[in-house]
Symmetry: C2
């Protein structure tokens, strides 16, 4: 269908479009793909020929609906494979990216349909990023502080606000890591402290902790 290089360009451009609205510049693409601007121009012209994006000289590019479809599908595959690697093969969440970069280019609709089912149709990958469904629909998500969640809401840990050794050690001890799902079981009004569940364990955390942890939630 599409070559490996084409898929990688479309994916990179898609990510850049997410980060900032409007056209994506040649230089931005080159930097994000660790390649030269002249190579980008070449490829971008080919992709424009194929109607996967619109291109105006010196103005940058924008994906067409078709181009987006291809990009999102690659991202879907990438994230599903990451779930497989972590959930089934017990990789750490930070070890899987390179392998998923390869697996995302395997061509077979049926394979992905079955893999998705095998994994229980997950909504998020191990980094907390949402997995598009087979029609390319990306669940809209929002990054908030854990402290902003209400009782009975949940989110996936995606990053920390201020990082310091002791805090990271605390997280480690409590088995809180990127990609881990956190359920808010209860919340006290007067001090903002929470009771949360992480994996099988449930425990108490202070407002100070909850205020230093970013989670991704469905909108």
């Amino acid at each position: 269908m599409f070559t490996l290089a084409e898929e990688n360009y479309l994916k990179a451009i898609f990510h850049l479009e997410m980060e900032s609205e409007g056209e994506v510049s040649t230089n931005a693409i080159a930097e994000s793909m660790d390649t030269k601007p002249s190579s980008v121009t070449d490829m971008v012209q080919k992709l424009a020929e194929k109607k996967l994006l619109t291109y105006k000289r010196y103005k940058g590019v924008q994906l067409t609906a078709e181009g987006k479809k291809v990009a999102v599908n690659v991202i879907r595959k990438h994230r599903l494979w990451e779930v497989f690697l972590v959930e089934k093969l017990n990789f750490q969440w930070d070890e899987v990216h390179e392998i998923a970069e390869q697996l995302e280019h395997i061509q077979s609709e049926e394979l992905i349909t079955r893999l998705d089912k095998f994994l229980g149709s997950p909504d998020f990958d191990p980094h907390g990023d949402p997995i598009p469904d087979k029609h390319g629909v990306l669940k809209r998500t929002e990054k908030k502080l854990l402290s902003e969640l209400k009782k009975n809401q949940s989110g996936i840990c995606v990053s920390v606000k201020e990082s310091n050794g002791e805090f990271l050690q605390y997280l480690n001890k409590k088995k809180i890591a990127i990609g881990v799902k956190i359920y808010v079981l209860g919340k006290e009004f007067f001090d903002g402290s929470m009771v949360i569940r992480v994996g099988g364990e449930q425990f108490f955390i202070s407002h100070k902790i909850a205020e230093n942890l970013y989670v991704q939630t469905q909108k």
Copy 2:
């Protein structure tokens, strides 16, 4: 490490070396890979440069130890992925080859180590072909008629001797298919009939049936 094309050539040459002893001819490679002899000559010269095979003009090629190692590793990956596709994703054994052709080129030692473990270190793929271990050691196997097995031996169904509709229907009814493991639980001397186990079921089969079914066994 090696390119996709290089891996495919080494794999094809390895299979040809298995089929017939001695050097492998340019034309044989071209035919098996559905490419032109001139392309084969080009690639073969590059592989000789890299010491993956020995090449004498007009005489054909032979893999070196290093070349064999690479080829066997690709075959190991191919067969492990086939097991995954059939056992975990519920593909039929005859639907998996194309997908495994792609998956076999994914580069990651660790991935294969873990995949192997996840699958329970299988000895055979769904077609009944043996899976090399991580050191490249291929279990020596032998293809025999089921009727040649003794009590308490087992084999993997790999093909039928004479095919006819009724026989295939019988096999279907009894859930005997390519890749299925058959255990011989008992054997009668006077008529050669057997009691076998296939999956959870155990039942009786006549000598006529046992004589028409090829199984792969460890040597």
